[in-house]
């Protein structure tokens, strides 16, 4: 391993938040909310699950792309990976919303958007709370 690679690995360890923990927790919250709602209304439970997944999957892709590089020596690569990740996230979100509304019937749109919104807020909250102390 070269000195640059070692430096890169150290920088990544300093900055990278626990992504598996963040997205795993989101999935658990989603499954619990959906399971709890299933006993009341199956359509709403399905819509909550779909809305949450539309939030979690593109965000997970975004996080995976963003933390491929770290450190000042790789500032250009970090920036490029941010742009690539954002474009991918945007396309994935559009595709998932389109597929959901085109193919899933019956569906509660309010539940889909509520779950999506809560997923986005939960993502920001978990990233803020669980991020690496070195990145603060």
């Amino acid at each position: 391993m070269t000195a640059t690679q070692r430096q890169q690995k150290t920088a990544l360890a300093t900055v990278k938040p626990p992504l598996l923990k963040i997205y795993g927790l989101q999935c658990i919250v989603l499954l619990v909310a959906s399971g709890f709602t299933y006993s009341i209304n199956g359509v709403v439970a399905k819509s909550l699950l779909i809305g949450g997944l539309i939030s979690v999957l593109p965000n997970a892709y975004f996080a995976r792309q963003v933390f491929k590089y770290a450190g000042a020596a790789y500032a250009r690569e970090v920036n490029q990976s941010f742009y690539r990740a954002e474009a991918g996230k945007f396309i994935a979100t559009v595709g998932l919303f389109a597929a959901t509304f085109a193919m899933v019937r019956p569906l509660s749109a309010v539940a889909v958007f509520s779950a999506y919104l809560v997923g986005m807020l939960l993502n920001t909250l978990l990233v803020a709370v669980l991020r690496n102390p070195g990145a603060r």
Binding site: F67, A70, F101
Partner: protein
């Protein structure tokens, strides 16, 4: 039908434009900050990741509403 398609185009287009401007500013500041103080680059990347999540939340909801209008409110697009 035509107006609905224009509305959907505007929602997706302006959503993408807003996100693009936001990310361009964020990316520029990241490069600037990394060049000025290289030792702070990892911290800046972590903060950028946090802000990026907030930045595209609202445009993404707009995109979702656009898809709802396209596929639920105005279904049956002409082939």
């Amino acid at each position: 039908m035509g107006l609905a398609l224009i509305a959907v185009s505007l929602m997706i287009g302006f959503g993408a434009l807003g996100t693009a401007i936001g990310f361009a500013l964020l990316g520029g500041k990241l490069l600037e900050g990394s060049a000025r103080q290289p030792e702070l680059a990892p911290m800046l990347q972590g903060k950028m990741f946090l802000i990026a999540g907030l930045l595209d939340a609202v445009p993404m909801i707009g995109v979702g509403i656009a898809m709802y209008v396209l596929f639920v409110v105005v279904p049956g697009l002409p082939a």
